[in-house]
């Protein structure tokens, strides 16, 4: 095993924007997300010296912890990182505080306001606050109301609220939640998080498209035959059955993560690189997106659920056998679907989306398959020339790849496909930050570019409304096909493309 040396010339070159003195208040601080993602991301920002010295983290939950208990629990969760950076933790943990708060209790909010004023004095955080609602989704609206009623969102410049996914359960509930949130705070204060947007490679879709002249001219219906977006997980439902049973893959992955990737892949070029310009374009493309068959949505969507599988040595249980899952559950753990985008750029180009749990590989990618050359002049080694493909690998092995035909060596003129690849590892060799690191920094900076705006969220829900209604009202029309764990989903999903004479890319 070789140790990767850091590039000493790279240190300190990034001109990071400066986060103002700030207190980040995490509601749901006793939950998983806080110790698995949020506090580690904040600690990483601290280690990268991107947090100001005047910062504080105030954990809030119902449990009656003290500051010391909170520090100790966060310390236990970060034990490995702390072992490597004990002095950094020593300094960072000085800024960790805890306040028992029930968002439904008005007097708790009064006490919270007083505690924040105390922290402002103690840590010189100057009244700048980012409230992070890492609570159960049913409390997003009431949480915002409680914060607003306590006057904690009154200063639009100094207070922001970050809301975790899922933002609503469907179009109607998302609209309703938007109304509540917007009654409590200005849109500029609201940060709806989708951690996929924090991934370097997702952001790289924008750079690939709009910083290069070679891609954009061919990024349209004239050259692209179809687009496949895949987010595959090897894990099962694990300990999230309580949430997942009421959600399923459509709500958990497609409506947010895959739809965001779809929007970035298909959007028009923004006039400039700022939050509103980018979010305008994303909202527009989502408003133009349609299920391939809205009248008969069961014809353009396949749902699946993993059954047992694996090997004799490592058997994997089926979804219905997972702890906390209803033995007769019809919750989908796999979704594949076909969409169209009705605009000048994409008219007639099918977009195929798929996501699933317990698939053979963990990967996310966007595959743009180009049209065939109009005339085949050469014999192809594989019988027919392989269409050109551009593959944007979002995870793992982040990078991009272009497949094209070249002359196979020899006296004849046979063609065969080859790959030309770019790998983040080979070119940069630096691990990219966890998505939450980037997103938390952006929220504290007040930069909403990588957060979803109200109209985007609503457009995303509206897109899937025919499916959600069908599942609700006539689930037998959209049955859940079982698929063996560690396979690429049900056969019906293959037919979805097979009917178009295509097949899923086998990564």
């Amino acid at each position: 095993m070789t140790t990767l040396l850091t590039n000493p010339l790279r240190v300190g070159l990034r001109q990071e924007r400066v986060i103002t003195p700030q207190c980040i208040v995490i509601f749901g601080a006793s939950g998983d997300l806080t110790h698995r993602k949020l506090v580690p991301a904040l600690f990483e920002l601290f280690r990268q010296r991107r947090l100001p010295s005047e910062f504080a983290v105030l954990g809030c939950a119902r449990r009656p912890w003290s500051d010391e208990e909170f520090r100790s629990k966060m310390g236990a969760a970060l034990a490995d990182e702390i072992a490597d950076h004990p002095s950094a933790w020593e300094q960072f943990s000085q800024g960790l505080f805890y306040e028992p708060v029930d968002l439904q209790q008005a007097d708790h909010l009064v006490r919270l306001g007083q505690r924040l004023e105390g922290i402002d004095r103690l840590r010189a955080t100057r009244g700048n606050r980012t409230f992070y609602l890492s609570v159960s989704p049913e409390f997003y609206g009431s949480g915002c109301r409680a914060l607003a009623a306590a006057g904690l969102l009154a200063d639009a410049e100094r207070s922001r609220v970050v809301i975790e996914k899922p933002f609503g359960r469907d179009y109607g509930s998302a609209q309703q939640l938007n109304k509540v949130v917007q009654a409590c705070a200005k849109e500029s204060q609201v940060f709806r998080i989708d951690h996929y947007l924090g991934k370097e490679t997702v952001q790289n879709i924008l750079v690939m498209r709009f910083a290069n002249t070679i891609f954009e001219p061919i990024w349209n219906r004239n050259y692209i035959a179809n687009v496949q977006i895949t987010a595959a997980e090897t894990v099962g439902v694990e300990d999230r059955a309580g949430y997942y049973e009421g959600s399923g893959a459509l709500r958990d992955m497609v409506q947010n993560h895959l739809t965001q990737i779809l929007a970035l892949t298909a959007m028009e070029p923004p006039g400039r690189f700022d939050a509103e310009a980018i979010r305008n374009e994303k909202a527009k493309v989502l408003q133009a997106a349609r299920l391939a068959n809205e009248e008969e949505p069961w014809k353009c969507c396949v749902r699946g659920q993993y059954s047992s599988g694996g090997s004799r040595a490592r058997p994997l249980s089926g979804y219905r056998q997972e702890p906390g899952v209803n033995a007769n559950s019809t919750t989908e753990t796999y979704v594949a679907m076909k969409l169209f985008i009705n605009n000048w750029r994409w008219q007639g180009v099918p977009f195929y989306l798929r996501t699933g749990k317990r698939l053979p590989k963990r990967l996310s990618e966007v595959v743009l398959t180009f049209r065939q050359a109009p005339v085949h002049l050469f014999d192809a080694a594989g019988g027919a020339p392989t269409p050109n493909q551009l593959i944007l690998r979002i995870q793992p092995d982040e990078g991009a790849e272009i497949k094209f035909e070249v002359k196979a060596p020899g006296s004849g003129m046979r063609s065969r496909p080859v790959d030309m690849g770019f790998s983040y590892d080979d070119s940069f060799g630096e691990p990219s930050d966890e998505g939450y690191v980037r997103l938390l920094a952006d929220a504290m900076l007040g930069d909403p570019t990588l957060y979803t705006r109200s109209d985007e969220v609503e457009a995303a829900w509206r897109l899937y409304t025919p499916l959600l209604e069908l599942i609700e009202e006539a689930p037998w029309q959209l049955p859940v096909h079982p698929y063996e764990a560690r396979t690429w989903g049900p056969a019906a999903a293959d037919s979805l493309l097979g009917d178009d004479g295509l097949g899923w890319r086998r990564p």
Binding site: L5, L9, R10, L13, Q15, D426, F428, E430
Partner: protein
């Protein structure tokens, strides 16, 4: 760059009336606006070259104090008349002095301090104070005051406004006007001081305008090299937040060099550098030395010795790597036909690494505006060659300044803080 005029025509106000006038302006004239809670920007803006070129009729007025292309073009053309080398940068203070010897009596309106570049105005400075010395050393002090509101590109102007104050006069009059400034700055907002001129100018003015904790912005390409580095180092050592536009203009060189060593397969070579050569325009060495010092600091080299070269204008130095191996350094001035605006721009860089068990690696970075023939010649046939072109940022001083203001940098960049003292040590005295 498009510029914005102030909201109202600047009003001549007697010096003693400036502060009361501002009070009235904010109390009555700008009701409904509390003013932007941002920062004060104090600018020393002599614009000697622009004033002299207008005086001799080589460019038209008005005098604005902003970097302008016609001024740079005219300055490049006039170097021969001034008996200066073609490689003399337009902003070289010696050129302004030489132009000052030429005859001419053209006059033009002086609008310095009354234009706010868009790049800066988007950061809504609460107060802009510009000191504009005139060629006429005996001119009395004039003070002008105006309010301004930045107009966002897409309308929807906010209520946050600022004011602009101009102090104009001969040097002596400006010295006498210095006591006016402190009450205008106040303590409640951060204050940036932009010394937009040569560091060879009278030191007492710099001392008076830029005491800590004001954040100082200088340009070490303007002035005698030793003086430039000494000022920079002294301020850093005093703990003052100081930014150097000359250092900021090195950004693309530092980024390009780092980029060469981003692929993990090349990282190891950085520990085996044996030679570094840098070519610079003209005879101002500071920029090249800052780049060298940055590399030496990042790679842990220890300076052994430095000297001037036999050929005029060059610098030789020897460093010792952490493993004791010697690194040879040479910086040479090279003539160029069209010099960049500021003295000492880097033309090219060559880095030779000799990692064990691998062929030597030669990295050549070349400015996109010129060739690197000297660096590309000789003895590299057996080496792995990496050549990159370093892009020239299309940014002028105002945009660099705006970047600083936007970044909110209230401390000295640690890389600059580490590099400047070493650069000062490399410079042979």
């Amino acid at each position: 760059m498009s510029t914005q005029l102030t909201l109202q025509a600047p009003l001549d106000v007697p010096p003693a009336e400036v502060y009361p006038y501002l009070d009235r302006l904010w109390d009555h004239g700008l009701e409904g606006s509390t003013g932007a809670a941002t920062f004060t920007l104090l600018i020393w803006e002599p614009s000697w070259l622009e004033q002299q070129m207008v005086r001799i009729g080589r460019i038209d007025g008005p005098i604005r104090g902003l970097e302008r292309n016609d001024l740079l073009e005219a300055a490049r053309l006039i170097t021969a008349d001034c008996d200066l080398p073609f490689s003399t940068a337009p902003m070289d203070p010696r050129l302004a002095w030489k132009v000052g010897q030429l005859a001419g009596q053209h006059e033009a309106q002086d609008l310095r301090g009354q234009f706010v570049p868009n790049a800066i105005s988007v950061h809504t400075p609460r107060r802009l104070i510009t000191l504009v010395p005139t060629l006429d050393a005996g001119r009395p002090l004039e003070t002008m005051v105006a309010a301004y509101c930045p107009l966002p590109d897409e309308g929807g102007a906010g209520a946050a406004c600022g004011d602009a104050i101009v102090l104009r006069g001969g040097m002596e009059a400006l010295r006498q006007g210095l006591p006016l400034i402190q009450p205008l700055i106040g303590d409640d907002l951060p204050c940036w001081v932009w010394w937009n001129s040569s560091l060879d100018e009278p030191p007492e003015m710099l001392e008076a305008l830029a005491p800590p904790p004001r954040r100082l912005v200088i340009d070490t390409s303007l002035g005698h090299p030793a003086r430039c580095l000494d000022v920079l180092v002294a301020r850093i050592e005093a703990g003052q937040a100081v930014n150097d536009l000359n250092w900021l203009r090195l950004r693309s060189w530092r980024e390009s060099l780092a980029m060469v060593f981003d692929p993990p397969s090349r990282r190891d070579a950085l520990a085996h550098v044996v030679q570094l050569d840098i070519d610079v325009e003209g005879d101002h060495p500071v920029k090249g030395l800052l780049l060298t010092a940055w590399m030496a600091d990042r790679l842990g080299w220890h300076l052994i010795d430095s000297s001037t070269t036999e050929e005029p204008g060059g610098i030789n130095a020897e460093f010792q790597r952490t493993d004791g191996t010697t690194v040879r350094f040479r910086q040479m001035p090279v003539p160029v036909g069209v010099p960049k605006a500021h003295p000492g721009a880097i033309v090219g860089l060559r880095l030779i690494c000799e990692p064990p068990d691998r062929p030597p690696l030669c990295v050549i970075l070349c400015s996109e505006s010129g060739g690197c023939m000297r660096l590309e010649s000789g003895g590299m046939a057996a080496m792995e060659l990496v050549e990159e072109v370093v892009p020239l940022p299309e940014e002028n001083e105002e945009m660099e300044m705006a970047r600083l203001l936007g970044g909110g940098h209230d401390t000295t960049n640690p890389l600059l803080a580490a590099s400047a003292p070493l650069a000062a040590t490399i410079l042979p005295r």
